[in-house]
């Protein structure tokens, strides 16, 4: 699995939430996530959906402010994420 780099830009409506931005190839997109999802400036995104040259189509864990789930990001924005084991 993989994770994508995000920048924290504000608080959400609930104390557990933060607003983050993801650098997509079309510009920054913001979304609200749970603070627990934030891991040293990254959030888990599962596996990329498509690859096109240096860009990956990824699905974000929540809808962005502009209503997108899937966005293209440069591969430099991604890092590997170890699989979590079930109990």
């Amino acid at each position: 699995m993989m994770k994508v780099k995000v920048a924290e830009v504000g608080k959400g409506l609930h104390h557990s939430e933060v607003v983050v931005t993801v650098k997509t190839i079309g510009g920054d997109q913001s979304l609200v996530i749970d603070r627990r999802s934030l891991d040293n400036g990254f959030i888990r995104i599962g596996y990329p959906i498509r690859e096109n040259k240096k860009n990956y189509l990824i699905e974000l864990p929540r809808e962005t402010s502009s209503g997108s789930w899937r966005v293209w990001v440069n591969r430099a924005q991604l890092e590997d994420e170890p699989e979590r084991q079930l109990a």
Binding site: S16, S37, P61, S65, A87
Partner: protein, 184 residues
């Protein structure tokens, strides 16, 4: 396929579904689990007469969170409850944190409780889907459609969560295409 109470509990034991705090035994029905109301509400400010604000969702740069921050006020539900006026829309959260593990093929729907529906309380506005991989408290859009004000209390059962198993693994949970690949 909808999960039964036993399947939900098994998935929780395996860590495939996380609900924190854990629901009590009586929060379950045969095919759902009740979630409760968080203490904090987001309330829309009264409009100023003669200075109408119009939200235009088609504007690409519209930042919904910032817009909501400007148009609303956070309020903690007092000990004697919050009086929810008829016709009002408020945003609320479940007290419970939910985590639907992406690789375990679970999704869910948040739905109202019939006992509350009968007095006019709606808990979402056409957005009930909790997608596979979701984690966080569930946002609720509460509307009082009833004829009378409703007293909301912290921790009251406010909605029910119905879990479904997806048919197959979504693209983002399927590593076939990207097995062994690392972004470089």
């Amino acid at each position: 396929m909808i999960l039964t109470d036993r399947e939900i509990q098994t998935a929780i034991k395996k860590g495939a579904i996380i609900i924190d705090p854990s629901p009590s035994e009586d929060a379950y029905s045969s095919t759902s689990v009740d979630l409760t109301l968080d203490p904090y509400l987001t309330i829309f400010n009264e409009p100023i007469e003669g200075a109408d604000t119009i939200i235009d969702p088609s504007i690409k740069k519209l930042h919904i969170e910032k817009t909501l921050e400007r148009l609303t006020t956070q309020e903690k539900i007092p000990a004697d409850g919050f009086i929810f006026k008829k016709g009002q829309l408020i945003l609320a959260f479940t007290k419970e944190y939910i985590d639907l593990r992406l690789d375990t093929k679970y999704a869910a729907r948040v739905e109202g409780k019939s006992s509350l529906s009968r007095i006019g309380l709606a808990i979402h506005i056409t957005a009930p889907t909790i997608h596979a991989g979701y984690d966080g408290h569930i946002r609720l859009e509460l509307v009082n459609n009833g004829p009378l004000p409703i007293r909301l209390r912290v921790g009251m059962p406010i909605c029910q969560l119905i879990f479904e198993q997806t048919l197959g693994t979504p693209d983002k949970g399927y590593h076939g295409q990207f097995a062994g690949q690392k972004p470089t």
